[in-house]
Amino acid sequence: MSVLPLLDVGLALLVVAVATWTMAARDLFASVLGYVAYGLLLALVWVRLHAPDIGLTEAAVGGGVTGVLLVTAGKRLDALKAATSGAAPRLRVKILAGALSALVAGALAFVVASLPTPAPSLAPQAAAAAAGPGAGLGNPITAVLISYRAFDTMLEKIVLALAVLGIWSVGADAAWGGAPAPLRKARPDGAMVLLAQILAPIGALIGVHIFWVGADAPGGAFQGGALLAAMWMVAMMARLVEAPRIGSRALRLALISGPAVFLAVGLAGIAMAGSFFAFPPAFAKALILFIETFMVLSVAVALPMMVAGPPEGGQEP
């Protein structure tokens, strides 16, 4: 009898407990902190599901970057002194909502418990893509992202660019082309500056490492890019660097370079290997790394720009 099942049950209870606390906390800030802890615990659940790649993404994006986004949003909302009113719904509505939620959760649990056996799987196709014509990727998930489901991944990169565009366009007309507000208005604490000065270079190095090993081991363009994005945000919070103006050509090129290079290589595949997103076997791995490099760049730029928000003011001196 191994001790692992007990740990699994403990972890499951802890995740649900922290999620409940996140929903029940009175204060927005406390609830966001709960959500960050919940993201880290969820990363452990992913590891238990043999999904370390997702665990890395969940810890970096689901926990870390989302936490910064919501904390920043809460602070900005406080600064606006907006009426955060809206009465809590009546007890009757709450009971109805609880019953509906329980019903949905119960139905979903029933579905999970009665999933078909043997389970359908696309793993053989993914294995073929990973081993497949000359790709030679040790990490099947990277093979799926860049080769087997390349079109999805490219469109997802376009979604990121569109989201940044959407956020920018929410800003005031007069502010177009300007820089977003700093993540922290106040002068940063000395401890924060020291942390950013030491952590940001090391974190950036680890981000590049995680991207590089992603071809064969857990990691990849998303995880590495998210870590680079986080390090940029740490530097922004310490006011070591400021958010760039959204009119900056370098920024815009970096944002679209991921999908653009992906699409260009995909189109070149028609000429070189006979179909859209087909990679010529001789240098498939080199091409995949080439695409991923620009994907890392796009992710690393897009996430912080989304957190930074629309360009500020217009009336600012």
Binding site: I54, A83, L100
Partner: protein, 112 residues
């Protein structure tokens, strides 16, 4: 009870918790957080599908796993867009209530 069934049940519970928070919390940022909880619950259920699809020498099906990775990043992009809209609403109307009968909505009505 194996690890993947347990994770699936946790995913179902998370969807239920998030759905309740989405309805019951009046504050839009809390609603957004609740929605993220629903999202991670759905991802977890999909992750269980990936784990059960172990084949071809892998302990998991890489296709759903890859889709969850892109999904997490897209969910973040959607949250960031929602935050921008909420802050814009606060600037434009002086309040962040989504309730047309709420104080902010009523104030706006009286001003007209």
């Amino acid at each position: 009870m194996n690890a993947s069934l347990l994770a699936g049940l946790v995913g179902a519970a998370l969807v239920g918790l998030g759905l309740y928070g989405l309805i019951a919390h009046p504050h839009p940022l809390r609603k957004l957080l609740a929605f993220n909880l629903v999202g991670s619950g759905v991802f977890l259920v999909f992750g269980v599908v990936a784990r059960r699809g172990a084949a071809a020498g892998y302990a998991f099906d890489p296709v759903p796993q890859a889709m969850v990775i892109t999904g997490i990043v897209v969910a973040f992009a959607a949250s960031a867009l929602a935050v921008a809209l909420i802050l814009r609403l606060a600037v434009a109307s002086g309040g962040v209530s989504l309730d047309p009968q709420g104080p902010a909505g009523r104030d706006a009505g009286e001003m007209e």
